[in-house]
Amino acid sequence: MIPELGHFSLILALVLALVQAIVPMVGANRNRIALMAVGRPAAQGQFLAIAFAFGCLTWAFLTSDFSLQLAAVNSHTDTPLIYKITGVWGNHEGSLLLWALSLSLWTVAVTVFSRNLPDAFMARVLGVLGWISAGFLSFTLITSNPFDRLLPAVAQGRDLNPLLQDAGMIIHPPLLYMGYVGFSVAFAFAIAALLSGRMDAAWARWSRPWTTVAWVFLTAGIAVGSGWAYYELGWGGWWFWDPVENASFMPWLLGTALIHSLAVTEKRGAFRSWTILLAISAFSLSLLGTFLVRSGVITSVHAFATDPRRGLFILALLVVVIGVSLTLFAWRAPKLSGGGSFGLVSRDATLLGNNVLLAVATGSVLLGTLYPLFLDALNLGKISVGPPYFEAVFVPLMTPVVVLMVLGPFVRWKGDGVGRVLRPLLPVMVASIAIGLGVAFAVGHVTVRTVLGLVLASWVLLGSARLLASRFAERRGASAAAVLRGIPAAWWGMWLAHVGIGIFIIGATMAGSLNERLDVKMQPGQTAQLAGYTFTFRGVADAPGPNYDAARATIDVTRSGIPVATLHPEKRFYVAQQMPMTEASIDIGPFRDVYVNLGDRLDDGSWVVGLFYKPFISWVWLGCLLMAVGGVFAASDRRYRRLAEREAPAGAARRTT
């Protein structure tokens, strides 16, 4: 009964989505306030309906209702409670429902927080979001109904894929989807702007916080996913350039470009058509990512079930959404004038440079991801594109981005003098080259990659310190507290995110260059040495879990005779899925991780053990965390609220008439 209620509720949500898609749009075109006003309650009702459907599905998982096919395939009575819940979205149908839920959540957020938008503009934004939602809800209902029954019911479920039974998987998909789907708001704002012809600084100011918040979610989602890959896949790597990772990384790169392009549009009224194109493209890449993951057009460790009907449906959805919006762009964007002119040395120019580079980098990732498909389609053979391609293309493109990123904040809008900009930065430049080379020599790893990484990281961190110092220099005489208080949140956001990039580069460089690994065969009592650490294998004991059997090893780690940690890697065997899993054990430290995984048991009673030494690896995620926190600061800047308040009386007046 409850799944049927959920199914019904989902159909109701589709009806409301269609109402939200059509009525306010018509109202905006005919200038009828009553019709425009339908959007808000339709969006809110739609959210309630989807949330109720989601609740029904979760209930079926919680109560192990194996007459529901999805629960039978993805859950088990012995599954721990938390993984019964995450099992709801650890599959194709459920993840689509999560997609729809986050879209409706974003839409409701728009109706609540952007109350001061002009009515017609708001109506168009909600209309666009309604169309997207209607598309995804009909995709879910027609090809991937999560409420399909399995009659007669089976006695026991097949359990959730053990790879997904992990703490990271609890928050990774919701965060990632909030990010992916969040770009739909920027997209809807861009389409509404094209429809209404209103593409000015005010438009950019409205879109900016939404874009930034979506970017924060995406940043956090990608970071958690990469952390999951690091400790759950047991290979010790943190980024694999897998098609599905790329699918989330491409919107992130374009989203980053969009955030910066919006800044120029807001401050200077420039780059307007480019900003609109970025907003359309960022969301298009989110959709493309969904297509790549859901259609099985590309193989990947993540590929879910493949069904040609689903692939075709979502491709049609993709063509309609992206095709219509790019046609609209081609039709309306030429009417935009270019905005103010700017010199070669200006903040506008540095941001334009970074935008172009980020867009090219996105294109190169897209090319690498789809290249096997292109070749296959043209009958030129089957290949796969691996990390060497991506690293060879990506690093050279990102190097100038990082250089410009530090320059940007020092340069004035419109035009500036080379001398004025370089004066404070020359010492920073010299110092970063010295530090980069010095550290590379000190750690004994002088390669182009290491030196480049270290120089760039120093450049970012020292440059950011210098930027903060110049804030103090501008207000000589003021107390430190007063200076700090006087800095707006948006500035702190920029500063933190940039520092985050520097921290990230240190982590990626050091973990890439200085990591050490050793696969050894160990008997109880034997020791192995790696990177100055001594690993003593104490033996293996049985450690059964709720839905798996496990062999749990005990390995003591010491350094110069001083105990560092006792690690317990496990080799698990998930009973219902008949699937073995290794569970790595990690001693996390600020400057290094010691990572151990347990391989197979050999016939002579010894075990294969993988030992890893990963310097600075946590800095990768610390950097991502700082970027995300920076985004939160930027989105919380007072000026968005203040301007909203200033516009409020006009909006309120219009509503009362």
Partner: protein, 177 residues
Amino acid sequence: MKAKFLVPLALFLVLAGFLGYGLQLNPREVPSPLVDKPAPEFRLATLAAPDTALGAADMRGEVWLLNVWASWCVSCREEHPVLMELARDKVVPLVGLNYKDTRPEAIAWLEAHGDPYTTSVVDADGRVGIDYGVYGVPETFLIDRQGVIRYKHIGPVTREAVRDVLLPKIAELARAS
């Protein structure tokens, strides 16, 4: 309408064309190095009677199909009706390689869904599967009278695949000798 503003749309349409065409392709369909090579020899206990064994050599002189299946394999259920039809028409002997499965579960599965196989052999630890380069279940091999693998089908066998690929190839191999 200025031409340069149409560039994003044009690029996207080309991309969509490729994606649409890509849907028809199977990215998992890697050309098997085993095609046109002798089928790896094996001798395994049959599922029905653990004390009798069957090997590839026993099938010499016949065109036959080797279908890799397991009771835990979801896609096997999908291709099962097609295999049942194939068995009913008695086109060629269909040998099942019961891969990484347990005997009771495999027997129960055949009882529940019907048994299309002339014989099923038990490859409990998957060693024969390794020889045949099996990396996903189901997979189906077409082997000729001389014991040479002539075709490999990856994933569930569909009615279209039987009609358009398997049956013509079988007819051709039957004629050839």
